[in-house]
């Protein structure tokens, strides 16, 4: 099965396909290989409450769906808030351990993890590092550079001088014309500052990235699909696997939307991203395709 067929099938199955520019890839000398990966975000494992009566069942549904994809993704990335925050360090580790058990059906796949503030802010990433590894790092795959950033371990929602210096050093090693994909938890740009939907020193990170011609950022945190452009850099946020949040700036506070028994799991889902030549094809996979199909 060709990936194009997979995308069409995914769309027919309730997924929404959109084409977003992985800007400038067309101008590269020799396109990188085609491949696709999956983004899951904001599982908030350990959360309990009315916004999701199936709190322990939603992530397993997503894991099962990813595991059943007709063509396995090259890798999977979780863009933070794997677990819901807790003050208790032992409970935090228990939730992280249980999260790993829940996603065990994906064992054998390449999985990249990064923290959200719920995972890492209260202990500055200590438990996350013990159980998942470094909070920011870089890797390459089939001609595309990837960089994960940590804008959550600092309680002040900053990348910090040390990480910005690391970014600068790493970016200097790369061809500025090569495609670069960045993963963060929080938006790097000031989406809704009054909801704390920003990164305090995100402008400095964007300035560093601006020197590269083909940059796309995938992030989480806001529990919904959202697309934004800063200059030539595209920013795409993903849905949550626990509860949706209000559209940017449309409510008094960024608190979970109520569960709708008539439309269970509405707004929850994950994403497939195919990098193909000059385009990134984003396929949104709702947890409950039937709900999305009738709305």
């Amino acid at each position: 099965m060709q990936r194009r067929d997979f995308l069409q099938l995914a769309a027919l199955g309730g997924g929404a396909v959109s084409i977003a520019g992985l800007a400038g890839c067309a101008s590269l000398k020799g396109s990188p290989d085609e491949f696709y990966f999956v983004q899951l975000s904001d599982a908030h494992w350990g959360f309990q409450g009315p916004p999701n009566p199936d709190a322990r069942g939603t992530l397993p549904k997503a894991v099962a769906a990813v595991g059943a994809l007709p063509e396995p993704p090259d890798f999977i990335v979780f863009t933070g808030d794997l677990t819901h925050t807790t003050d208790d360090p032992a409970e935090r580790r228990r939730r992280m351990t249980e999260f790993k058990q829940v996603i065990a059906p994906l064992d054998g796949r390449v999985i990249h993890f990064m923290p959200g503030e719920h995972d890492a802010a209260l202990d500055r990433g200590a438990a996350f590092k013990e159980l998942f590894g470094e909070t920011y790092y870089r890797f390459d795959h089939k001609g595309v550079h990837f960089m994960t950033l940590d804008n959550v371990s600092d309680r002040g929602t900053s990348l910090g001088a040390e990480q910005l210096e690391w970014m600068k050093t790493e970016l200097a090693k790369l061809d500025p014309k090569a495609p670069l994909v960045v993963f963060t938890h929080r938006p790097l740009f000031p989406l809704v500052p009054k909801w704390d939907w920003h990164t305090r020193d995100g402008a400095q990170a964007i300035e560093l990235l601006m020197a590269h011609e083909n940059v796309t950022v995938f992030y989480g945190h806001i529990h919904q699909e959202h697309h934004f452009q800063t200059g030539h850099i595209a920013h795409h946020s993903a849905r949550s696997l626990m509860f949706p949040l209000p559209a940017p700036g449309t409510a008094e506070k960024p608190l979970p939307l109520a569960w709708d028994p008539a439309a269970p799991y509405r707004g929850l889902g994950w994403r497939g991203i195919e990098l193909e030549g000059s385009k990134a094809a984003l396929t949104e996979h709702p947890i409950n395709p039937a709900v999305e199909a009738r709305t």
Binding site: E117, R155, D196, R200
Partner: protein
């Protein structure tokens, strides 16, 4: 010697004599705010446009943040200390403030508003 010391102090502004400036300006109104997981008290505060105020903020349990996006002003609130922030709202309307240091399960609702009248 005494004259030299006075001149030196005047040079640093420590004397605060305000010579030639007429009457000293009235001290800004002080407003006390307490920060505690996961709320500010009070969290609705009336202000007047153009009136300078001094916020005296006391965190009880965590290094919360105090952030006023529309004024681009923020400060860390160190527990056990009274932290001050001077603001002067320019226009009538609402000015939101929030904790911008992630402080736990409930952080997302830790905010308040200055209601600024004309």
């Amino acid at each position: 010697m005494r004259r030299r010391l006075l001149l030196a102090l005047a040079g640093t502004g420590l004397l605060g004599l305000g010579l030639g400036r007429g009457r000293a300006q009235a001290a800004p109104r002080e407003i006390e705010i307490t920060a505690q997981r996961f709320h500010f008290t009070p969290n609705v505060i009336a202000l007047t446009a153009g009136e300078p105020v001094l916020l005296k903020i006391h965190a009880l349990d965590f290094t919360h943040g105090f952030y006023i996006p529309d004024l681009d002003q923020r400060i860390d609130l160190i527990p056990g200390r009274v932290v001050t922030l001077s603001i002067t709202p320019v226009n009538p309307g609402k000015l939101h403030f929030l904790c911008d240091n992630f402080c736990g399960d409930g952080h997302e609702g830790m905010d308040g508003v200055f209601e600024v009248s004309a």
